[in-house]
Every structure is written in structure tokens, then in C-alpha cells.
């Protein structure tokens, strides 16, 4: 094998799919995103590296589906031949970037004759992106030649040869590996599943006791990896970066956020920590830290770790203006530095300093427009940029502005008018697919 070309000095690497496969591709965008997530997870499970998806242009690993000569010195050559490449870590602007030949027929869970298994090639290329070169070792995923599909991404086990080479570069991962142990079927059933292709998509009917998004007060609201999550009881709704509601029916917290106690009937506050992008859930006097959708070892822990009084937390968010974390409880708030992991001095302060914001908040979150949103009951208030005063024209209705509720609409199944949220969601008048559980999206 080649001597390692280079390695990352930092441990938290961001990634982003800048261009997707051509429209005619067999694979939808969510499947491509999920496959990239799991291909990166293969390496982060066994090394101290952490990957998180971002939206901006400054991702460490920019992923493109492109073809022919794309001006990087490694032109593709149509179907077959060269199928992908990635740039080694280092100072170059392209370090870590990964390109897939858009002239290939990229497949997922398909026989080798149908095309090129995207997950297998992505694992190989991300090996380059973290510093591994080609090897002649027969077992290795880093052999230069395409060896066909490598099976289910959730059960994939990296060849030992490749683990050793990553450990030589970065050392071993200090916490328990997150890779699902292939001999442990209970875990594979529970891990965040990959999107099934349309013909065999599983539909899980919403439980009878699921809350109505148009008449609910929310327990917590959070901005996670660019998306918005509204939590109520044991359920949550999810909005994409474009503020599109992923499904009219809520998903079950325990089926997606893995590791919370099964008797947990609601959460108090949730936020995404700056720096390592881990996600923190609060309930009562305890909190849990998630790496992606899995609780880390050693949680829950007491909220006194943050220097908070043992009274609980109403709301938590990271203010874009100073990247500090704000906790609210009743009519007080605290400012915490998540980079130094230390409470700032001089707190708590009176929450009336946030002019126009009510006390006893349900939660707060920042949004991709740079503003901060304060939620209480069925209403929300917006504070722009670095202001500390509510913008004129607020409060407004959460249901109407965020969750596709009309003034009077309740979401009970009985309302079967043509003017359902689903038709508005898509603009055409057609049956509400959400009832059959057909409107769903699963991303990393």
C-alpha cells in the first residue's frame, strides 16, 4: 500500500452533497444522502473522527456527481472504466472532496448486473478522503478495482486490514463503536433504517393517540442539522431545510432517537451543540447527549453538569450572534459557553431583558434565516439577528406558519376536504397520501 498521503488534524468533519445523480438515476436524493451518511459512519464508528452534514459551501467533504472532464485532473470516461475518486486530506482546497461518475448506473440493494453499488464505492472513496491509499490486500475495501456490492449498509463490517490502517492514522475510537454488530439482530432492527425503494416501502400507520399538530402546545422545538423538529409527548414533526413539513403525521421519538428510556413521555428542551454538532435532550433534572440519532454511553446525567440549578429547563438554544447557548427557566435565563463547557458569569438574568418575549417558554430555536424563534402555547415570537427585542407583528400562529394548518383546520382524519394540507403541500388536488403513510422522508 502507498504510504498514507496525509491525515486530518481535526476530528469533526463536515460533509455535504453539492450535486446529486442525474434525474434519471434509480436513486432518489434521500437514498443518496442516507447512503453517504452510512458510508461515512463506517469510518467514524472505528476511529475518533465524527462526520456531520452541513448545508453551506464550506463543507470539508464536498460530494459531487459529475461526468467526463470536470477540471480536477481526473476526468471520468463514461460508463465503466473510472467510476469515482476522492482527494486525500491536506491543505489543498479540494482536500476530502469526493466525485462520483454520473455516467454510471448507481444502485442500492440491487444485483451487480444492475449497476454500480453506491454504498460500496462511497466507503472506498471516503477511505481516501480520510487519508487511505489503494492497497493490493485482497480483503480490503481499498483495492482499486470495483468488487461488486458489499451488502446491507447497516450490517457492513469493515475488513480488519482497513481498520488497522485507520487506527495507524488516527488511533482507535474511545467510546463504544456505533457500528451495528452484525451478529446482534435486535440492534439492526432498531437502527435508523435506510430508505426502502418505492416498491417495498414499509408503511407504519400513525398510532391512534398521536397529537394534533394544529391544536398542540409543543414541549420542545429544535434546529438540528438545518432542519426543524417540533416535539409533543412521545412524537415529533420534522421540517426540511426548506421549511417543508416532512409528514402530516408525527413520528415516534423512540423509533428515531435511539436510547431514551422507553417510559419517557415527553421532553422539555432540545438543541444541537455547536462545535461537535451533537444533540442534547433535556427532561426534568436530566439530559442525554446524542451522536446523530444514538444516545452516547453514560447518559442520562444531571443538568448540574451545565451549572444549572436542579429545577429543570424550559428552553435551550444557540444564539447565532455569539454562538453561546441560552437556557430559560420560568422568568430567568442563563448563558453557557459550549466551546469552553462553562457557564458564563453574572447569570441567571431576568428574561424580560428579551423584550416582548413571554416567561415560561416552551422552547426557543434559531433558524437558517439567522433569527431566533421563541415558542409558547400555539404562538411564536421572532427576534432578528443580534437584537434582544421581539419584531413587530408578533406573536404569530405556529400551526399556520410552520405546520401547514389553516385557521380553523384540525388534522383529525375526518376532515377529508379537498383543501387538506397535503393538497396545499403539493398544489394539486389529489388524495391525501399522508393517511396511507406514503408521505415520508428519511435522511441521515
Amino acid at each position: 500500500a502507498l504510504t498514507p498521503q496525509n491525515k486530518w488534524t481535526k476530528r469533526h468533519l463536515s460533509w455535504r452533497i453539492r450535486t446529486y445523480p442525474k434525474e434519471s438515476s434509480l436513486l432518489g436524493r434521500d437514498t443518496v444522502r442516507a447512503l453517504m451518511y452510512y458510508a461515512l459512519k463506517v469510518w467514524s464508528d472505528i476511529s475518533p473522527l465524527n462526520f456531520h452534514e452541513v448545508a453551506g459551501n464550506d463543507a470539508d467533504i464536498q460530494i459531487d456527481f459529475t461526468k467526463a472532464d470536470h477540471n480536477d485532473g481526473y476526468p471520468f470516461d463514461g460508463p465503466g472504466g473510472t467510476v469515482a475518486h476522492a482527494f486525500f486530506p491536506g491543505e489543498r482546497f479540494t482536500a476530502g472532496d469526493t466525485h462520483f461518475d454520473d455516467d454510471e448506473a448507481w444502485t442500492f440493494r440491487s444485483p451487480e448486473s444492475h449497476g454500480m453499488d453506491l454504498f460500496a464505492v462511497a466507503v472506498h472513496e471516503f477511505g481516501h478522503a480520510i487519508g487511505l491509499a489503494h492497497t493490493s490486500a485482497i480483503e480490503s475495501i481499498m483495492r482499486p478495482y470495483y468488487q461488486g456490492p458489499v451488502g446491507d449498509p447497516l450490517k457492513y463490517n469493515l475488513p480488519y486490514e482497513d481498520k488497522v490502517r485507520v487506527w495507524q492514522l488516527y488511533g482507535v475510537r474511545d467510546s463504544v463503536s456505533h457500528t451495528v454488530r452484525p451478529d446482534d439482530p435486535s440492534q439492526t432492527a432498531d437502527s435508523p433504517v435506510l430508505l426502502d425503494l418505492p416498491e417495498n416501502r414499509s408503511t407504519v400507520q400513525p398510532a391512534r393517540d398521536s397529537p394534533d399538530r394544529c391544536t398542540s402546545h409543543f414541549d420542545a422545538v429544535a434546529h438540528i442539522r438545518g432542519e426543524a423538529f417540533f416535539f409533543k409527548g412521545k412524537y415529533f414533526w420534522r421540517l426540511t431545510r426548506e421549511k417543508h413539513l416532512v409528514s402530516l403525521h408525527p413520528a415516534q421519538i423512540h423509533r428515531f432517537w435511539r436510547g431514551l428510556p422507553i417510559n419517557l413521555d415527553s421532553v422539555d428542551a432540545v438543541y444541537e451543540r455547536p462545535g461537535d454538532h451533537k444533540i442534547i435532550f433535556f427532561k426534568g433534572l436530566q439530559y442525554w447527549i446524542f451522536k446523530d440519532t444514538n444516545v452516547e454511553e453514560g447518559y442520562p446525567r444531571p443538568i448540574s453538569d451545565f451549572g444549572l440549578p436542579m429545577e429543570g429547563v424550559d428552553a435551550a438554544f444557540v444564539w447565532l450572534h455569539n454562538d453561546k447557548t441560552y437556557f430559560f427557566k420560568d422568568n430567568h435565563y442563563w448563558r453557557y459557553d459550549d466551546h469552553l463547557r462553562r457557564m458564563d458569569l453574572g447569570y441567571p438574568k431576568d428574561s424580560t431583558l428579551w423584550k416582548g418575549v413571554p416567561a415560561q417558554l416552551d422552547d426557543v430555536m434559531r433558524w437558517s434565516d439567522g433569527s431566533s424563534y421563541f415558542f409558547k402555547g400555539k404562538e411564536y415570537w421572532r427576534v432578528v439577528g443580534s437584537d434582544m427585542e421581539v419584531e413587530a407583528g408578533y406573536p404569530r400562529s405556529i400551526g399556520k406558519d410552520w405546520l401547514l394548518c389553516s385557521e380553523m383546520q384540525s388534522d383529525s382524519p375526518a376532515t377529508d376536504t379537498n383543501n387538506t394540507a397535503e393538497t396545499r403541500l403539493h398544489g394539486q388536488h389529489h388524495a391525501d397520501h399522508a393517511k396511507e403513510g406514503e408521505v415520508c422522508s428519511c435522511t441521515s
Binding site: 504510504t3 473510472t82 482499486p144
Partner: protein
């Protein structure tokens, strides 16, 4: 091995240069690869690919050259330089 067509030979030399087994032909003199360098490059590629090291572009070797693969070279410039220096 059956005699190679000129086209197969060209494809083989291009492939070996592209993936780091042969230095690109000298842009100034346009000097072609020596037969010895070519044989050595073919053997290195056959070894990396798990083939019998015959040193000629036999069917198995040409077949492997047609297999879909990653664009990155198998040997870096330094590996090749070391090879040349050792020679």
C-alpha cells in the same frame, strides 16, 4: 500471449501511466518507455491486482485493466521514484 494489437499496447501503456505504474512519456523528447520499464510496470500492476506476474499484457491483465475502478493511482510519484532509483 497472443500478439497484441498496437491499439491494445497503446491502451495498456496509457492505463499503466494513468494509474501510477509508468511515468508519463517525456513531454520534451516524447521518448517512449523502454521495454524493461514496461515489463517492470506490468509486473507491478499484476502484483497489485493479485495476478500472476508474467510481465506481459496477457488476457487476464487486459481484463483487469477493463474492470471498473477508482480513478486514483495505485502508486504515488514517490513510490515510482523509489522504484526507479532502486533500479
Amino acid at each position: 500471449a497472443p500478439s497484441l494489437t498496437a491499439e491494445q499496447m497503446d491502451m495498456g501503456v496509457d492505463w499503466l501511466s494513468k494509474f501510477g505504474y509508468l511515468p508519463p512519456p517525456d513531454p520534451v523528447t516524447g521518448q517512449l518507455q523502454t521495454k524493461e520499464a514496461l515489463t517492470k510496470a506490468i509486473k507491478a500492476m499484476q502484483k497489485f491486482g493479485g495476478l500472476e506476474e508474467t510481465g506481459v499484457l496477457d488476457i487476464a491483465t487486459l481484463g483487469l485493466m477493463k474492470t471498473p475502478r477508482c480513478s486514483l493511482p495505485d502508486l504515488s510519484d514517490t513510490e515510482m521514484a523509489v522504484g526507479r532509483k532502486r533500479r
